[in-house]
Symmetry: C2
Subunit: 433 residues, 2 copies
Amino acid sequence: MQAIRIGICGFGTVGGGTFNVLQRNSNEIARRTGCPIVVEQIAMRRTNPNCNIGNTMTTDDIFEVANNATIAVLVELIGGHQPAMDLIMTAIKNGKHVVTANKALIAEHGNEIFAAARANNVIVSYEAAVAGGIPIIKTLREGLSANNINWLAGIINGTSNFILTQMRDHTRAFADVLQEAQQLGYAEADPTFDVEGIDAAHKLTILASLAFGIPLQFSKCYTEGISQITAEDVTNAEKLGYRIKHLGLTRRTPDGIELRVHPTLIPEKCLIANVHGVMNAVLANGDAVGSTLYYGAGAGAEPTASAVVADLVDVVRDLALDSDSRVPSLAFQQGALSDSPVLPMSQITTAFYLRMMVRERPGVLAQVTRILGERGISIEAIQQQEHHCEPVPVIILTRPAKEQFMNEAIVAIEALADIAGEVTRIRVEELDS
Amino acid sequence: MQAIRIGICGFGTVGGGTFNVLQRNSNEIARRTGCPIVVEQIAMRRTNPNCNIGNTMTTDDIFEVANNATIAVLVELIGGHQPAMDLIMTAIKNGKHVVTANKALIAEHGNEIFAAARANNVIVSYEAAVAGGIPIIKTLREGLSANNINWLAGIINGTSNFILTQMRDHTRAFADVLQEAQQLGYAEADPTFDVEGIDAAHKLTILASLAFGIPLQFSKCYTEGISQITAEDVTNAEKLGYRIKHLGLTRRTPDGIELRVHPTLIPEKCLIANVHGVMNAVLANGDAVGSTLYYGAGAGAEPTASAVVADLVDVVRDLALDSDSRVPSLAFQQGALSDSPVLPMSQITTAFYLRMMVRERPGVLAQVTRILGERGISIEAIQQQEHHCEPVPVIILTRPAKEQFMNEAIVAIEALADIAGEVTRIRVEELDS
């Protein structure tokens, strides 16, 4: 079979990593595909000091790659919305297959991109968009295809997981660890995307569509970051046998689909509670297979390149059959997508960890438990901690309750004269059902 | 697209599970494939009380299924060598695709089966042969296809892992836990296949071929069971910061391929050291992706059915393209298989845990360390344990050394007058490189 010619647009960390993996492992990859993958052209703003590109053709115009007739597959690694969207749509209209690592674009405009791909009989692959080198998209599209997926829970943002791990291991404050993460290059100068959960929400949106066969609907994802988590919360969770992780959670319920990113207490005995530092992991529960876990590096030049190149190998294997995509873009056939609604957060049921500052007066805990009880919220555990001066912190672990009732309860508790300031609320998941 | 008609041969645990998953999830599966999968015929010796097969056609002759012209895919779930081999070869010659869970047959006769499949342009899939519901075969054939795989380490036999977990958690003896495992149905009446590592060796043989592109060569796999592990060894390992796991390990070295199943000390901080009970996990290290882990149920009716049905979905998706297998059976193209030799155990380098009973005489430890030192074996740690009477146990943790030199050293140590009985030797892997 003839060589497959590809073009790479964007030659930063992931672009350079992709080029290097393709060069270094060219023999091993050709042993798998039966034909070589040749980088025909690279669109770059500046050279990448980690790559020796020899006399590979370069350009500073990404659209030159999309219009290069010798190129069969365009690899989009420039990121962001525009001009990435125009680039991908141009490539598709020109009959090129596309491999992308662009999670924001897929999560927010994937429905439109996949429709164009179907209309033009080309493949758009995006394994690198979620959890770096972990082949979680292939797993959901193909490996678990026998299952009704019940739920997924993922640590899918390395920056947040690094910060929470450091806060726990060294009893440090959020702001302090964030600064270190920025110095280490694990966090951006503006860390909002990572620590406020937007990046995780992009990835979770994609995973939910693959799991349940629903259109991508990023705007409906509930998103809450970790910037309000205190070292005290981390320690309290530990004493209760839990760890705080920034989880993306999506679950199918009779009423609709839960789609939410927020800090979560999970039992320390769970394997996923032991995923530390910048590592990622996704726990997937299917009705036949039960719980399965997928773990690996969620970012970095070569782990991400591993996913980009695996997509290229898939495209080449499909091209060898001279046909369009064997597996639908979102795992389910286009006509078979479901209109299950995404649930508003108020309709979701979880257990809760509550932390409140109480002025030590008789009766205040009775008032708090009455407020919870009136709304059908049962208490699993309550701890009043030793403290040198008023107000004293009180920790309550509840049984599962609907978010709506908890919202009402928190408003009522905060209105009590003997409660100082706001009530901290972190959701709790046992991850065993 | 028309329905795909399949035949199931063998209707025990996995056969029944496969039938039930296909029935229960028929809508979800058709949403993924675009066409229904219909069970046309079942070959069974007796009815399965867990299944309502309605008026599905049955037979007690498996070859009737292989010769049924309406059937496109034969699902072989009878296990064992014969008549499974004849059944699969008949189906292939009749132009049928085959899905099998038969690890022994693939590990020992897969080369022949895959050659017949290529000659007859049919697909033979076997995801269920390794680690039950974990899609590890798809991961190696497709998900990690960008990588030069460096090594794999797997807990791939649930019975052995259950026994070692119980020995550690409750400081119990091997024989005692084995008996309980037999009562719980986790171990067979004859447990040899599981506890002596033969089952794990079958699975590891398959994983190694997929990882490195070498022919299946089960006969060269080194196999050592867990029946000699004592509660004392488990406790000693714990004190040193390790856990004993029954690992299948395969590694590419400049000299050839390591292929070995044996009890292994691994650091307790490794995620895979925290895989407990009957659960399975495979750690895969690639040059681009680094270390990744895949965890889930390694056995049971529905987890195994999850893998069988995923293979069926793959076949259906390939058939929709009207072509033969898109991905080579052993991940690499047939002409690209490697003749890297499998290394004999004597040529393999690992660290070692040694336990020996020493009569408390001055100089004996000096003799032991001299014997090790003369063979270039360095000592990482040494512990002489308190004991009420002679001889006393001495534990030595060594740095990595070639097995051949360790074999010689152990012979020399056992010959010392002040050493009582045999030296216990368990290999140690750090799993971080």
